[in-house]
């Protein structure tokens, strides 16, 4: 989640900065057409940009920064925030999403595994094989090395026996879960009313 936010922030920042740089560069280029201080000159651009005022303000801020006080504290917090933001942007640019596999076998010869989504898809297909099941959903969580958890929810037909369907589903899905060392949890949901364990 953090990576996705960081990646989005990095892309947005890159877009804003590159656009600003492009506009700024274009402005400087246009105002470099004439020398000295006519309309299309750099002194004219500085006048339009009110850089004289900015220089005065920066000078006052720097003076306040040198003295101990609220401005110095704000500057310190802003500096720390900028460092954190920089690290977040670097993480967004260079970070890679680790797509975790549910591992079946791992040794020197390589790893055999399946994506969590693929395991969940098979579990859903297996769970929906019964006439007493209207539909099924499944989620898979993988541990770092091996194993994990498989949760299957089956939505029962009106006349179905929840306990019997749960057990039958468990037997069928267990054949899938066992080789992956997944802890299996089946939940049957009746068509009307609350859930059945």
């Amino acid at each position: 989640m953090t990576l996705f936010v960081a990646r989005g922030l990095a892309r947005l920042t890159a877009l804003v900065l590159s656009t600003t740089l492009a506009v700024g560069g274009l402005a400087v280029a246009v105002f470099s057409v004439q020398g000295d201080s006519p309309t299309l000159s750099l002194p004219s651009l500085a006048g339009h940009m009110r850089l004289d005022d900015l220089l005065a303000r920066v000078g006052m801020t720097l003076a306040g920064l040198e003295a101990a006080g609220s401005i110095a504290k704000v500057a310190a917090v802003a500096g720390a925030g900028t460092v954190v933001l920089g690290l977040l942007l670097l993480f967004g640019v260079f970070g890679r999403t680790r797509e975790r596999l549910v591992v079946l076998r791992s040794d020197d010869a390589g790893t055999i595994g399946a994506r969590r989504r693929a395991v969940a898809q098979v579990a859903v297909a297996v769970g929906e094989q019964s006439r007493d099941v209207l539909r099924a959903t499944a989620t898979t969580a993988a541990r770092r090395r091996r194993g994990g958890r498989l949760r299957v929810k089956v939505y029962l037909a009106e006349s179905a026996d929840g306990a019997a369907v749960t057990e039958a589903t468990r037997v069928r899905v267990q054949a899938l879960a066992a080789p992956f060392s997944l802890r299996l949890r089946i939940r049957a949901v009746p068509r009307r009313g609350g859930g059945v364990a």
Partner: protein, 117 residues
């Protein structure tokens, strides 16, 4: 020159793996939604196979697959069968010493895997 031969070895083994996948029932190679899982060759890429040279100069392969539903055998058995066939094919091509670890990832399950290529 060593770099060129390493690249060609990678591509040759990736193509070999792609051929083995294509000849195995119930699976298809997938390059993934962003096309990340592929090996770039000089003329064309090999989708679904990532080939990387390891520290010992051997080529490690990562096979990304879509399994066709209904699955005909347990995924572990399917993956192992695929690795054995690939090692056999590499042996026939005289490249078994250059083939390193082979990892198999089932990335998706589809009723018709042909569209996932």
């Amino acid at each position: 020159m060593a770099g060129d031969s390493a690249v060609s070895r990678r591509v040759v083994l990736a193509r070999l793996a792609a051929d083995v996948i294509a000849r195995t029932d119930g699976i298809a190679a997938t390059a993934g939604p962003a096309g990340r899982w592929q090996t770039a060759g000089s003329h064309q890429s090999v989708p679904g196979v990532l080939a990387v040279e390891d520290a010992r100069g051997r080529v490690e392969l990562e096979l990304h697959l879509v399994a066709r539903w209904p699955i005909q055998m347990p995924l572990e058995q399917l993956g192992e069968q695929l690795r054995e066939r690939l090692r056999g094919a590499a042996g026939l091509a005289g490249m078994d010493q250059q083939l390193g670890a082979v990892s198999v990832a089932f990335d998706d399950v589809q009723a018709d895997a042909g569209s996932a290529r």
